[in-house]
């Protein structure tokens, strides 16, 4: 697939965020556009203004936070990768009312409750009884109950 503008922006956003995460410990106050450009932009041959635009876009999407320092902005990741991921997973679940959301993303499984789990295990046991040779789960993971 030829890289579209959106693809390139996505890659760049990814690289920028990786860069901010990687420097979170050494630069707790965040990086300036110049610093991000030095790390991400130069090797990719991307203009300073592009990096600026991307950071601005990411701030609007709440992926990064920024604080003004003199005439420049300092950018920090909005949260760790884990926290942002968790947010993304839950936000998408909550964003649309039931029907539309479930048409947008096809989940392997909707959430289930402990009572359901008993019914599940009963159904599995029945199936395993019909196929005794296939019934053993490969080792090394969660033990079977």
């Amino acid at each position: 697939m030829p890289p579209t503008l959106r693809n390139r922006l996505g890659d760049l956003e990814r690289a920028v965020l990786e860069c901010l995460w990687a420097s979170a410990e050494t630069h707790p106050d965040g990086l300036t556009v110049r610093q991000v450009h030095d790390t991400v932009g130069v090797e990719r041959g991307i203009a300073y203004t592009t990096v600026m635009t991307v950071l601005d876009r990411m701030a609007k999407k709440d992926l990064v936070r920024r604080e003004r320092e003199g005439r420049a902005w300092r950018y920090r990741p909005a949260a760790s990768r884990e926290a942002l991921t968790s947010e993304a997973l839950h936000q998408t679940l909550g964003e649309l009312s039931g029907g539309n959301r479930r048409s947008a993303l096809l989940h392997f499984l909707e959430e289930s409750t402990p009572e359901d789990l008993d019914a599940l295990k009963a159904a599995l046991a029945q199936l395993e009884a019909a196929h005794p040779t296939e019934a053993s789960r490969p080792p090394g993971r969660t033990p079977r109950t």
Binding site: L105, F108, L109, S112, D116, L120, A123, E134
Partner: protein
């Protein structure tokens, strides 16, 4: 007079039929044929409703002989106007609903895909460029259909499943993407939202969703086997739910139902393949009904 049968057909298929069909759970054992019957029901109801207008025109023309009615606003003219009004409203509602639902769905998918692409870990499970791995402990797997499709997995999924089970889950999600189950689901969602709330049947939409899952499950079974697929479902379902996550309750033990449907079982003593043929024939008859009625009206 063909307007009455068309209207009766439309009403029957829009209201009692879906409610009744959702009760016939045995037909889940032939998921593909059952989905075809569901589609045929929806399409036929729409066709019948839309065909009533042309049928009304023919009826009025016939009743009054071949007389020009231009501008004459008598009884016949009124029937035509009413019929076209009804058909027009139905069509307009359907189209606007399709537009709204489609735009919403695609916007959510695009935003989520962009986010997932940014946040994903570098690893590509299965070496598949469409798969994205998220750093999250809860086992979750889903797919984002469309032109730029993605299968999204969490680290928790990888940690919890064995290799063959993971293969079953990936095959399940890919089956959705390859067969474009999303389009099917979108069609039913549009029809569901386009009809007035009184007519709407949540049970039928749930049933369609289940059938789509069963189809994808069976693709997983063909690759990984029934027991492995069932184990994958149990492992995914048996995971602890993190605090604050969205709990969507209403499905009941739908996962247990899916495990029961992984393998072919006879429908009321009939081989599901034979039953499927009968169901396809039924679906074809349904769709033909309004067409034949309209043709008969012209004859």
């Amino acid at each position: 007079m063909y307007i009455a049968p068309l209207i009766v057909l439309a009403v029957l298929l829009a209201w009692p039929a879906p409610r009744l069909m959702a009760e016939f759970t045995a037909f889940r054992r032939a998921p593909r044929a059952a989905l075809t019957v569901w589609q045929a029901t929806a399409v036929t109801a729409l066709l019948a409703a839309l065909a009533s207008a042309p049928a009304a025109v023919i009826h009025v023309r016939r009743e009054s002989g071949i007389i020009e009615h231009a501008g004459a606003f008598d009884d016949g003219g009124l029937v035509i106007v009413l019929a076209f009004l009804v058909s027009g409203v139905i069509l307009a509602r359907l189209l606007s609903c399709a537009h709204r639902v489609g735009r919403n769905i695609r916007a959510v998918r695009r935003r989520h895909r962009e986010l997932v692409d940014i946040l994903a870990l570098d690893a590509l499970p299965g070496g598949d460029r469409q798969v994205r791995l998220l750093a999250h402990a809860t086992p979750t797997a889903y797919c984002l259909p469309g032109m730029k499709r993605r299968v999204v997995l969490t680290q928790g999924t990888i940690d919890r499943l064995s290799e063959p089970e993971l293969d079953a889950v990936l095959t399940h999600e890919r089956a959705h993407l390859i067969a474009r189950h999303d389009l099917l689901l979108e069609f039913f969602t549009v029809v569901h939202e386009a009809v007035p709330a009184v007519v709407r049947s949540d049970a039928s939409l749930r049933e369609v969703r289940l059938l789509i899952e069963v189809l994808a499950d069976r693709a997983a079974v063909r690759r990984a086997g029934a027991v492995t697929t069932a184990q994958a479902i149990v492992q995914m379902a048996g995971s602890p739910t993190p605090a604050g996550s969205m709990a969507i309750r209403e499905e009941g033990s739908i996962a247990a139902v899916r495990i029961g449907l992984l393998e072919r079982h006879p429908i009321a003593g009939v081989d599901p393949r034979i039953a499927s043929i009968a169901m396809y024939a039924f679906a074809a008859t349904l769709v033909l009904a309004p067409v034949l009625l309209l043709v008969a009206a012209f004859a």
